[in-house]
Every structure is written in C-alpha cells, then in structure tokens.
Symmetry: C2
Subunit: 639 residues, 2 copies
C-alpha cells in the first residue's frame, strides 16, 4: 500500500513537515496549499527537497468552491485553477483535490455541474493535471460520494476522477459497499481519517477532532476493504485535522501517523480475508475485471498490496510492574505492610523484587536523585516475546535497550508514548517467572503466602500523547479500547480510557489528567497506581491495618452517601468505614477496594471483584481524587 499524509496533519513549517514525513517513512505527501503559500521555499525548492527526501508529491489540495456557480464566477474560477495548474507543473505534481462547493454554490443543477467540471477537466488536461473531485460532508449541493462520482461518470473525462475521504463518508454514515462499483481508474485518490463518534456539527467535528486510524471509532478496515475490492491501488493518505496534533512535536506525530497506516494495512487485509470473495464458476484469474487476481484457493485478490505484520495474540497477563526511585524506603514499607514479601535483590543490579502470589513488583533504585518515585515499566506475558517485539518494532515502537549478563533473561522492551517501558515476557502456565531466579537466593520464587495478581495499572498520559497511546496499545499489544469516561476531580475533569484484553487478564487505564495552574504557579502532576486483586479484601485490609499500613482516609460523608444509595447491611457498612474500604455494585456484581497513601506520584490499590463486576469503582474515583488532592495541598502547606 502506498502510504501518504497531508502536511496539514502536522505542526511546523513545510520543510519541517517534509523532513518528519521522510523520517517516518511515508511514500508520499499531500501538499496543503496554505503550507506552500506561507513557505519561503519556492515550488522548485519543494520539488527538489521532496526528490532528495524520497517523498512523492501525490496531491495538491484543496481547490475550493469551483462548481455550481454562475458563468462569471466560473470564468474567475477557471483563471484561478489555471494559476494553480501552472504552479503544480513547477512542483512536478499531477493530481489536485477539488472539493464540492460550500461557499459560492448558487445553482443546484447536475447538468450544469457536469458541464463546469468538464471544462475544468479539459483545462487540467492541457496541463497534464488530474482532478480528484471530493464530496465534502457539508457540501452545499453535493455531499455524498456517490453523487460526486455520478458527476465524474457523466463527464467521463480522463482528467476527472473521484477522491474518497473516509471522514466525509463515515461521518455521514453513508454505506461504503457501493465503493466497489467505482471503476478503479476513476478513483484518483483515497484519504483516510478516523474520529471518535461525536454528536456535533460535522464541520467542527471534521476540523478539530479527526484522529489517525485506530484512535477513533470509524470502521476503517471495512472502508479500506471496499476500496481494495474496487481495484484501487494508489496512495492511501492521511488527512487529519486535529487541534492537538497541530501543536505537538512534528516528528513524533509523523511516526504516530505512520503507525496508524501500518496497522490499518493489517486490519484491511484481515477484513478482506474475513470477507473473501470466491471466483465465480468459470471465471479465470485475471478475469471479469482485468485487475482481479485469485489466490491458490480460488479467492479473489486485488491490486492493492497489503503488507502484514507479525501476529500477536493479546497478552495473557501482567508479568510484573516496576517502580523507579532513588529512595526505596517508603515503597518498601508500603509493600511490606500491604502483605508483599521481599524476595531479595537482583544479583547484579540495584533492584529489589517484591511479590504477593503472582503479583510481582520491582523496586528499581537506579532513579536519578531527587526524582519522585514513578511507575517506570510494565511486563506483559506473551506467547512469543520475539514475535511481539518484532511486531512492535515494525509498528515503529522505539526499542528500550537493556543491559543483560550472559546468564540472564533477555527482555524485549519497547517504549510506550508516555515513556513507560513495556517488556514482552515469556508467560508460563503456572504464572511463575524464570527471571525471578536472578533475585535473592537464586531460586525461582513461587507463590507462597498471600495470593494476588495485578488487576490493573493506571497510567497518566501527557495530553499531547493520549491518542497516540491508544493506538500504541491497540496495535502493538492487541489491547481493546473501551468507551472513555470523564471523572471529576478538584483539579478538573480526568479523561479515563480503559484498554483491556477480551478475558480481562490485562486491564490498563490511561488517564489524561488536567493541568492545573494555581496562583503560585504550582503545576500538579497526576498520580499513577498499580492495583492488585485478592479474593478476600476485608481480610487483606485487616492484616494490612495490623501491620500499620497507611490507608487513604475516606471521609465519613462517603459512607452516609453509600448507605443512602445502597441501603447496606449496617455491620458491613461499619466494616467498610472502619477499614477505609470503598464499595460499588452494579447488575453484574460487587467491587470492594482500598487505596494506600501516595509515595512520590505512585500509590497502590487492592481490589476484590465479586460476581462478574467488570468496572473500576468509577463512582468512587471522585472521592479518591479529592482526598489525594487534599493530602497534596496539606503536604505543600507543611513544606
């Protein structure tokens, strides 16, 4: 698949954008007119730079408000088009995007439109330019790709074709199957964008909230499947207007964009496999449509080549979580009082292993001095670490270098967008981990005492990398994004996105925390945590209390409200209150949990899931946020 991206997706100057696209590995780019107009580079400079960078200049865009106008305006528009065609010849570009008219259209007449487009095509032909006509979702008279294509069909000129843009088609819920009926030589260009499903006017939605494929909720693999089945094999190019990407680091965004296309390619191939079409009896490979091919099983193949990725199944569970600090004493105390056992130090590194059943926590003491304790790494159990790592690297995940001794376990590590290190570990049927032999007495550490597993991990994401993180975990780790929620906190709404495996063995919560700036300029960082699941939370809490654990203190008002909501058994309510436990209930089951005090930006949670409760105690999250905020304020006052 030929990959492309519109310069409007990225921040920076045209030069910076082109360089970033080349580094990310795109085959070609669309030049957004404004990026050229505002650039000090001449068209000839741009042409040379693209050639030097190995970037195709695949589309000049957009030419607006051409058709459905009176003759005098049309004359003006043809003059304008002529100037742009000349410019394109200096750029060495041969395809221009012409959108259906939004601003100046006054005449709703398909015959007239066809005649006007025909004159444009004729002029374009004189300059060797191909016009890709695209229906905007909010086009005044033409806002549907089938309508736009009927016009192209009517004109029937070699220099006029269709541009298909997934946003304009899927935002309006148009059926995508009829794409297959379009002749491949009439599809001049394909643009893809994903988007969250929002209920707002489509123009604002389009201009601000588009995201890269895999970061939204559109059925893009199906869209691409229909495009491939139409026989199209030209560029598939991202056109994503997004307020955040426009102000994020250009090179990172370009890599995020490339990852989305690599992933989309795989998903499209999967869709085509799942919806395979057999050749009709008597049809020969290369048959009815000259461009159709068949594979050995007699299934139709298509001209678009879709590269595949190393396959991975979803991870089977968490292998470990690692917290980094330069001063481990508080973390040791917290874990010990929670009921974790100290399994010893690593034989060559300054790291400790703590465990509670299969829940393993590494305290890495190699943090720079005076840095706050933070979650630094997560290990996931996968079938094959090497295959999973190969996949992640093909998806452009940066590799994490890790020094190992000859006799140590080699970990395959990649960096998540928020810099958390993700290690792909060999899972074992009994939940043990061979690498634990490198700690303490050199024995593999079986689960001896209290049993627990890592239930979920909650990571704070910087606002620039939230969408990128969703795609990263979706594509590299096969986690499935759930609908996102918003949780109020004293410092603003916290956007919360759950990513999980289908069996819930891995649950990751990505939180986009608000940035608060108060009078004194203090910038509060959001806290992250690791949650462990046990089978008897009350007993676990009692034991932890006896060991002197510092629990997050839950206000009495919470228990009154809980009682008002759930009419709990008084003895049970008293136990919850005594132990600072939180409670939630839904149609599927019950949820009990408690939080520890925070060390640096890290705290721990213990949970018990009863029945089929599948959530995270969302109604209790505001209580946690408020109490943590209060402690933080008190902490600042005391300093």
């Amino acid at each position: 698949m030929r990959t492309g991206i519109a310069t409007v997706c990225l921040s920076g100057t045209l030069k910076e954008k082109m360089q970033a696209c080349a580094i990310a590995g795109f085959d070609g780019i669309e030049i957004f007119e404004q990026d050229l107009v505002t650039s000090p580079l001449s068209p000839e400079d741009v042409r040379k730079m693209a050639a030097d960078l190995g970037l195709g200049l695949d589309l000049y865009q957009p030419f607006r408000d051409f058709d459905s106008v009176s003759e005098d305006i049309l004359q003006e528009n043809l003059r304008r088009a002529d100037a742009k065609f000349k410019l394109m010849s200096r750029l060495g570009m041969d395809t221009i995007l012409v959108c259906t008219n939004v601003g100046t259209a006054t005449i709703d007449d398909d015959d007239l439109r066809a005649e006007q487009l025909s004159r444009l095509a004729e002029l374009a032909g004189d300059h060797g330019v191909k016009v890709a006509y695209e229906a905007l979702a909010w086009g005044k008279y033409v806002n549907d790709y089938e309508h736009a294509h009927r016009l192209v069909d009517t004109v029937d000129h070699p220099n006029l074709g269709t541009c298909l843009d997934s946003f304009h088609i899927l935002s309006r819920d148009w059926d995508t199957a009829p794409i297959e009926a379009i002749k491949p030589e009439k599809i001049f260009f394909v643009q893809v964008a994903d988007a969250p499903k929002l209920s707002m006017d489509v123009l604002s939605w389009s201009r601000h909230y588009r995201v890269f494929p895999g970061e939204g909720q559109f059925e893009l693999a199906k869209f691409m499947g229909h495009v491939a089945r139409a026989g199209y094999s030209g560029p598939v190019s991202l056109e994503v207007f997004n307020d955040v990407f426009r102000q994020s680091d250009v090179e990172r965004t370009a890599v995020d964009a490339m990852r989305s296309l690599i992933w989309l390619e795989e998903q499209s191939a999967k869709w085509l496999d799942a919806n395979a079409v057999s050749l009709a009896p008597g049809e020969t490979p290369g048959g009815a449509r000259g461009d159709s091919l068949a594979n050995a099983a007699g299934r139709r193949r298509y001209p678009m080549e879709l590269a595949t990725l190393p396959k991975v199944a979803e991870p089977a569970g968490f292998n470990f979580a690692e917290v980094k600090t330069d001063d481990p004493a508080q973390l040791e105390t917290l874990l010990g009082r929670l009921g974790f056992e100290f399994d010893g130090r690593h034989r060559t590194k300054d790291v400790q292993l703590w465990s509670m059943g299969h829940a393993r926590v590494i305290i890495n003491e190699q943090a720079p001095s005076h840095s706050e304790p933070a979650i630094a790494a997560l290990g996931f159990d996968v079938d094959s670490p090497v295959i999973a790592s190969a996949r992640a690297q093909q998806l452009k995940a940066p590799v994490v270098p890790r020094k190992v001794q000859a006799d140590e376990e080699v970990f395959q590590g990649i960096a998540a967008p928020d810099s958390t290190e993700i290690f792909l570990c060999q899972g074992s049927p009994d939940g043990t981990a061979a690498w634990t032999r490198e700690f303490g007495e050199g024995l593999e550490h079986p689960s001896m005492g209290a049993q627990a597993v890592i239930d979920h991990v909650n990571l704070a994401q910087p606002w620039q990398h939230f969408d990128e993180a969703v795609l990263f975990y979706t594509s590299a780790l096969a986690l499935e994004p759930q609908p996102f929620a918003e949780v109020p906190s004293p410092s603003g709404l916290v956007r919360s996105q759950v990513m999980q495996t289908s069996d819930r063995a891995v649950r990751l919560v990505l939180n986009l925390a608000p940035v608060i700036q108060q009078g004194n300029g203090t910038r509060k960082s959001y806290q992250e945590h690791i949650a462990f699941a046990v089978t008897d939370l009350v007993a676990t809490a009692r034991a932890a209390q006896a060991r002197g654990l510092e629990f997050l203190q839950i206000p009495a008002n919470y228990y009154e409200d809980l009682d008002a909501r759930f009419a709990l058994d008084p003895a049970f309510l008293a136990t919850l209150k005594e132990l600072n436990l939180l409670y939630d209930r839904d149609a599927n089951g019950e949820f009990l949990h408690f939080y520890t005090a925070t060390v640096g930006s890290v705290f721990f949670e213990m949970v018990e899931r009863r029945g089929n409760y599948d959530g995270y105690g969302a109604p209790n999250a505001p209580v946690r946020h408020a109490v943590q905020y209060d402690s933080l304020q008190a902490h600042h006052l005391h300093r």
Copy 2:
C-alpha cells in the same frame, strides 16, 4: 439581587471553594452533592464554616432520577430522599434541587408523575424541606420548564416549586416570556449560566462549555427580566460546568463569577427599563399582584432589587500603548524607522515617549533585567476616568497603583486578566494628551509630522483567562465581543476574539495561542502587537524602507497566490511584493498592511483601510504566523 454560585463551578476542595466564594462576595452557595461526599468536613463543620464566612447555604443539589418510575423504584427513591433530607437538616439547608428523570424513567404519565412528586413533597414537608423541580434539557419525558411547572401546579403543595435554569431553557430555545406567568412563590430557585452557541448534543454542551454570564451568547438579560417580572426575588445562582474553570485558580474564578452577576444585574435592569410596563388604568401601586409596585412615572416595579453600576460610554479611542523593556535600543530603532518621533524622556521616570500623529507609544525602561520586551499597558480615552474607574472597581477589577508627583496627571489604572495595565484617560476633542507635557521640553506634543492612530492592539491571553478577559472588557470597558475566529499557525490553531466599540475607534484582538511543546521541551510564547493606521501605506512603507526598517519578509509564494485569488494589477502586485506588503479585499473595501520584525514578544503593524473594510486581514494571518515561527526557529538555532 441575592447572588449565589454552585460549588461545582470551581476547582479545589469544598473548603477552598467556600472560602473563595466568601472572598468574592457571594451571598450564598449551592452545595453540589459530590463536593460534600468527598469532603472530610462533617455536615456540621460545613454549616459552621458557612455561618462564619457569612455564606448562605441556599441549595443542595442535585437529587437525580426520582420520578416516572415503577412503585418499587419509587420506594427506593423515597428512602434515598429521606436520607438526604436528614443530611440537609444537619447542614441547616432547606431547599433541594430535584432534576427531571434522565436515567431510570420508564413511565411517561403526567398523572403518575404528579402523584410521585406529591409524595416527595409530603416527605420533604415532614423535614421542613422545599423541593425545587427542574426540567433538564435532556430529561427523558420532562425537558421543558413549562411542562415541569405544570406538574408543580398540579401537585399544588407548599413544599414543591420550580427551579429555572437559564441553560436548560435557552439551549433549547424555549420562549422565556411564559416565565412571567409563574407565581413568584412557586419559583423556588433560579440558576444562570451563559454559553457560546454550539451545534452539538446538549448534554456535552452543558457539561463542558457553560460560561459565566457575559462570556457566551445567551440572551440572559431578557431571561432575568422575565424572572423579575414574575415577581421572583430569591437567589440568582451560577451553575456553570466548564472544563477550564474546573482547573483554574479557585479565587480568580470566583471573582470572575461574581463580576458576571454584577454585570448581569445591570443588564437585567436595563432590559426592564427598555421593556417597562405601565400600570393599567385604575391599578394602584401594590396592585393586581400583591408584590407589584410602581415608580413615580406609574411604571411597574418588581420585588427583585437590581443594583446599578456607574455608567460608562464606550471609549473614544486609544490614548497610548506602553511597551516595557530593560533594553530599549531595538524598540527605539524600530519606532524611529517606522516614522515615529522621539518626544523625549519623562521628567522623573525612566520612560520615553514616541509619537506619530496621535499614535503614542511609551517605552518603559523599568522592566526587570533580561525580561523580554512586552506590551505592558494600554490607555483608553473615556469621558470620565473617575467614573470609569469606579465602575471597573465595582466590577472587581484590581486597581493598579501608580506613583505620581504632585504636578503630574493622575491615571486611573486597573489590571486586565492577563495583567496588562489598563489606564482610563481623559480624552480631548483634538486627540492630544495633557500628560505628554511631562516629557521632554515640557510642551504638549501636538501631531507635527506623519499622521497615524492606533488601529488595534493584539494581546495574547493565557488559556485559563480567555473567557474572563472577554467579560472584563465587555463589562468594565463596554467593548462588544465579535464572533470568534480560528487561524492556523505552524504551532496550532490560534483562537482570535475581536472586542471593539461600535464606531471601531477601539479595536482589541484577544488571541488564545496554542501551547506547543517540542522534543526539546521548548515552550513558545505567542507574540503581541500594536497596529497603527495611516492613510497612505505604500508611502509609509517606502519611507520606512528608506530608513532601513526591518520588515517581516513575506514569501514569494504568497504573492502568486494573491494574484491567483484577486487578479491584481501587475504594477500594484509588484509594489506589494517589493515592500513586503500584505493585501486583502472584501465586498466593503481593501486592506493593506505590513509587519515589522519582532523584538522580544512585541512587533508592530502598519495598516491602511480603504473603503469600509472592517477586518484585520485574516486570510494573511497564517502567513504572518508561519514567517514569525520560522524566524523564531532560526533564532533558536543560532543561539
């Protein structure tokens, strides 16, 4: 008017919120349930704190999903209500907000609803509680205030009344006139919120985008006029869910909120004046409705007391602009080459005066060392500086202290939300300023050489204070906000809000610049500028060029595009290109302008308006942003 605010409008803990509300001068607050539930303060603590702070506890809110349910759920809801009524008695609160059912309503039957509300009112009566029933705009069966009130009327119970919320009414475009028909004793509470007109689902709009009165586009004065004419005189309380306010400094937001109510009070009184109702013949003061009163002119008055503010007309023009720096050399060069004359130094302060006709620029050399040159102050011509200052201070604008000698002009200064100092100056019929005698030779500086005026000033606003700034300039300075625009730049979209007087003598552009964080962590600050209008821009530019002015260099591509768009006369186009002039044209006229290079975060613009051109060359803004971004990048590379 009794002023109130819901705690949900503000960031922080309940305690912080209550303190901020008291400092801002609110009469009372609404307690948002979650703020209490998450607070370590007991209900008795809250009651005592409110009494100590002199804050009324006017409304407990919200109680959700009560009516239109089956009998078993109703029983459950009554139990829940009973718990909340008991809690309210501990808080010493007597009014609770009950919203129409969104989540659990299953039975659409007004008789049943009335019966269920009647049972709620009866229970509330037992606890001395009043239930204020409010139609949510997205209520499942009841989403219209008139419908909600018909139910209240049917039940006819002293403990059941209506709550009117401007957002739920105006977001749905419900007619507000029928409010007058509601008996005043049946309006238990009034909540106000403004909002920009957005086309999106009303729930998201309500939860994220509400703003304080004067910061949006709702006709709130009219809404309040109808409420006053209904005879209501209870609390008018802000309920504003806003993502930014939730994460902004709590004390500042509370003051912004209070300003909005003070302003709304004035606007409501104006609406009532403009829509005055005379007493009917034979009707006596205190007449038909016991609460109606009449003034001397026989016009009806209402129980709601609406305080007024010192009146100001819109400013007649800019008096001066002041730039602060610790190193004036570059600014001196720039102004001199632009054609400004140096009028001398102040006789006691380290400030210089430069002028070009009536355009006066002060260079204040008293900036802290190594600070970047920045726009520090603006002077506006007003009828009466003292009255204007009194008004601004009643609107809670902070006063700017300024040391003056006995024989110097006393300036009335207030601080804008972005800390720009706003000076209210005595305008003069001939455009001169008496204070200029304090500079140089002690002569008043008449306009000798080239003529110019300040056309507009463009100020960058921090994201936390953008809405606050709109209200500040609207309420304190009588500027009128125009619809906002968004301009693309290499570092993201720039939100741009024009505030102007009706005669355009004062034009202020507030820009909300994107925050860009690049790989190296550089945070770019947005540039601000002062624009001067002249009558012959080409001549001004030629003279400046001859003096060696450093113009912002406009790319050649821009002129090609300009020609494609406007088909300009080749000689004129050549002149534009030669002098780095920008051009725009619309149905009303033409606009020529150029920019200087930037010093620190300040640059200057020269403009010529031809015909009735009323804009700012918006199509050219992306060019400016791109070139400035490029220079900034180059500057960083050279350092």
